[in-house]
Amino acid sequence: MSAENQQLVNVVIDGKAIQAPPSLSVIQALWHAGYPRVKGVGCLEGVCGSCRVLVRREGQEKVGMELGCQTLVEEGMQVLFLVFPNPTHHHYELGEIKNSWDVQAEFHRIFPEANSCRHCGGCYSACPKNINVELGVKLAGEGRFREAGELFVECIMCNLCMTGCPEAIAPNHVGLFARRVTAYFHARPSNLIHRLELLRKGELEVDCNSPGSQPDNAAN
């Protein structure tokens, strides 16, 4: 089915009544109807977290948070773009943590609110990737950073969980902290280290005119 011969649906996006084919995303529908849209548009593949929208579907009271590039328009849908920035108020540099035994203490210094979780589920229900955000925060608080980080594999840092948290925990940044310390302190791949050592000793030089890089020799 092409966009032209589909049954159109009626949606309201940022207060604008729009008719669009149901095969289009919220952003595509806005463009399709001829409205400009620059802010809150990013990768258009659901991994950059730019296009956060509030969505209410026909007949439902609940307002959900979703991604505008991933949400297809439906009859009677109401959509509002959330373009405000919400940077985290936490600040840390991995280099400040001198010892891997100190990570848990440093975590609580950097994220003092993380222990104040009320288990309201606000973060979880806001997450467009269905990450168990609340559990992630709990695990990080217990110092189980590797486990916590695993929960945030698909996190796109859209910050919607921050918006949903009444205690200002910034759960996505907690998740990313958990992931970063895991790599920073525990990833020591021996194949990489061995290669770096050989390079350091000058045993792996590159010949810019190598036989393998000549057109005549390289033919399969």
Partner: protein
Amino acid sequence: MTVSNGTPYSEALSAYQASAARPLKPAGDDTQTLLEQYHPDYRADTLDTIKVGPNSGDRCHRQLAELLQADARIDEADLAGAPVVKTDVLVIGGGGAGCAAALVARQAGAEVILATKLRLGDSNTVMAEGGIQASIEKSDTPQMHFDDTLKAGHFNAERELVAAMVKDGPDVIRWLIQQGMQFDLDEFGDLLTRRAGGTSANRVCYYRDYTGLEMMRVLREAVQNSDIDVWDYSPAVELLANESGHCAGAVLSNLKNCSYVQVVAKTVIIATGGIGRMHLNGFPTSNHFGATGDGLILAYRLGAKLRELDSFQYHPTGLAWPQHLAGSLITEGVRSAGTWLLNGHGERFIDELLPRDVVAAAILRECAEGRGITIEDGVCGVWLDTPGLELRNPGILQQRFPKLLNLGKKAGIDPSRSPLLIYPTLHYQNGGVVIDANGATTVPGLYCVGEASGGIHGKNRIMGNALLEIISFGRRAGEHAAAQRHNKGHKQVGLEHLSRLRRELTISGMPMERKSPMLFPDCAKFDDDADYDGLRRHRRNKVTQE
């Protein structure tokens, strides 16, 4: 593709059956003939010769040539009242290359402003799935990495740049781990690697099929937790030059309060990424919303030389169907894990791990010669045989390609049961601004890194070299640019180079109506957006819309 004589989708789907073994059809044409007949770069009707600027006489894709030879969006009058901010290093672009350059420049002690058109991290980096190349396996050497890169690029790459990059490879991975980036490791904690098409060893390090996402969120967090001054929604609309014609900063358009700001800097690093949203030859693209080639235009106007302006990468496996996802990328990792490509007759028609340009050309050939699979509106493609992969390696999709499964969910297709219809998608700009091993362009004070730069990939790029390049050259440029902060300041800073540009455009009889850089794709109607009056006011010959 406007070809109707293929196998209809529903017919092909009901005839399809996952199979454990399929022989490869013997190749009919040699690769050079295949490329010349079917690769979009070789279509003579889309090429133009440049008339104005440092690349005069060179062949260039017509759509890009139009923007390179268009008028500027601003002139001296627009700078009256525009505040001046001073810094050591101005980085333009907030993807992986820009972040790496900014982090290293700041680490070296320079004051850094990072300006980005959208938000920090909104980039092609975040979408990269396949991985990052670094020769770390016993069976591999930097020399083999060098040879593979040269060969895949049809020997057009700059050897000195490639050598620098492949030697950086392992240290780039270490640097990323030190920023807090995770990679997939084996039971002993060693880095896992996989093989890229057109290469001779397992060399691609990865994190699931989220390598770019993992890299970008870590780099973004590192930048935000540093003293780098990040300006989002601030596209550069023009570079500034000093009395000697050296780069001296840039004019940024602040989309939040609709005004121009002049950032005067000792050095400028362009890291603006690619051109997919120009939709060359009408192809769909896998690129980010902001990939409109702005950096090429800005650098060219200041006199920087460009290269390989007629060479672009069409990634073989873009999703062709459904329509709302057309152009979305399916990582080469899926093919390197052993997935086959099948035509409308269920035949394998090309070695799936040949270089990307060859595989893309082969897909275009199948479609053009009636062996594709067609669906309405002339949409044509071939199968990506994911069920066959799953049959031979049960559980592999769930384990290694979660992003592909998500794409399937959005498309309403289960890739473990049904093959996906794919067609080449405009993916990467192989050429770009000429640089040296420090990322410096031919204009003093101006650096260029990442996809916007040229010379590293020749005329075709292999998987995983893009993520390596952005960090390798991002770090190199950041360090070198930071070291220039002790130079004495510019005496006079302005837009003198635009007078020269306009004179040359007029002499060459170029139309002056078109403005560049493009900044945003046409569909977003940026120049008509009432939210952004700042730029609209300065647009010449604009048809007023109420």
